[in-house]
């Protein structure tokens, strides 16, 4: 099996290895989210993606490869798109059909974490004004564990103030990073 094939983690994931699932996630999340782009107006793609990933974990022991790479990822894409359609219907939003054709899967090689990018982001974070810096740090450090009103309360902010500070922080960060030659919009390319 090619080392760039995300299915190299499949056997361990199927055996219940959450660390292997984490490695798979580090490469699978981005193409799966991209595959939900056409549902953005009718479904909360973050919720759909999280639910799809939980289902991938549950069905992985029954995933049988077909000889092509990224079998679990292709299965995840199918699950995510079908979920987007069904949840949009449940919320009485007009869903687009998932269709028979899956979008092209563009999976990057095994990530080589770029310390220079991390350092540049950290430097830009350090330059943020106090309140926006505290707000975005709370959001980043919490990694989706708590709702915003709890994070805001911990910082002694009203929820709307907290959200305004994060928006300001993200805008300033993006500007700082652009000046450093790092464009997060490339993620959307």
């Amino acid at each position: 099996m090619n080392v760039d094939d995300t299915d190299q983690e499949l056997a361990a994931i199927a055996a219940g290895d959450a660390d292997a699932f984490a490695r798979w996630l580090s490469r699978a999340e981005r193409p799966l989210r991209r595959g939900l782009a056409r549902f953005a107006a009718v479904a909360d793609t973050e919720a759909v993606l999280q639910e799809a990933l939980l289902r991938v974990w549950q069905v992985a022991p029954r995933c049988v490869g077909d000889g092509r790479p990224h079998g679990l990822l292709r299965l995840g894409m199918r699950i995510a798109q079908n979920l987007a359609v069904s949840t949009a219907r449940r919320h009485r939003l007009q869903p687009m059909a998932a269709g028979d054709e899956l979008p092209e899967l563009s999976v990057e090689p095994i990530a080589m974490h770029d310390d220079s990018v991390r350092l540049a982001i950290s430097r830009c974070r350090d330059k943020l004004p106090t309140q926006p810096k505290a707000a975005i740090a709370a959001r980043l450090d919490d990694v989706g564990l708590r709702p915003d009103h709890e994070l805001a309360q911990r910082l002694g902010m009203r929820t709307n103030t907290f959200l305004q500070n994060i928006t300001r922080a993200r805008t300033l960060l993006a500007e700082c990073l652009r000046r450093a030659g790092i464009d997060l919009d490339l993620e959307l390319a």
């Binding site: 219940g16 959450a18 699932f21 984490a22 996630l25 580090s26 999340e29 981005r30 989210r33 991209r34 939900l36 782009a37 953005a40 107006a41 009718v42 479904a43 909360d44 793609t45 973050e46 919720a47 759909v48 993606l49 999280q50 639910e51 990933l53 939980l54 974990w57 949840t87 919320h91 990530a111 974490h113 770029d114 990018v117 991390r118 982001i121 950290s122 959001r139 980043l140 919490d142 990694v143 989706g144 564990l145 708590r146 709702p147 915003d148 709307n160 959200l163 305004q164 994060i166 928006t167 993200r170 960060l173 993006a174 997060l184 919009d185 993620e187 959307l188």
Partner: protein, 77 residues
């Protein structure tokens, strides 16, 4: 972009999602208050935010991945 929409988008960028009684991940409440254009803005901004999170994390995992892994690990114990 207007201020109200900014707040709704910012709220829904969070990876925090509640589960419904059946244990399924729920839509963020703010999503329902956004119009179609706002939801497209949300999608793009979320992708950018997750890219930032992955770039910052030594394990390359975003808040989405951490949220999923917490539930996976909780269900395994």
């Amino acid at each position: 972009m207007n201020a109200d929409r900014d707040l709704l988008v910012e709220a829904a960028i969070s990876a925090h999602r509640r589960l419904d009684p059946a244990g399924e991940v729920q839509f963020h409440p703010a999503f329902h208050d956004l119009d179609a254009a706002g939801r497209e803005v949300l999608y793009a901004a979320t992708r950018q935010q997750r890219a930032l999170e992955r770039a910052l994390a030594r394990d390359g995992l975003s808040a989405t991945a951490h949220a999923v892994l917490r539930r996976v690990r909780a269900s395994s114990t």
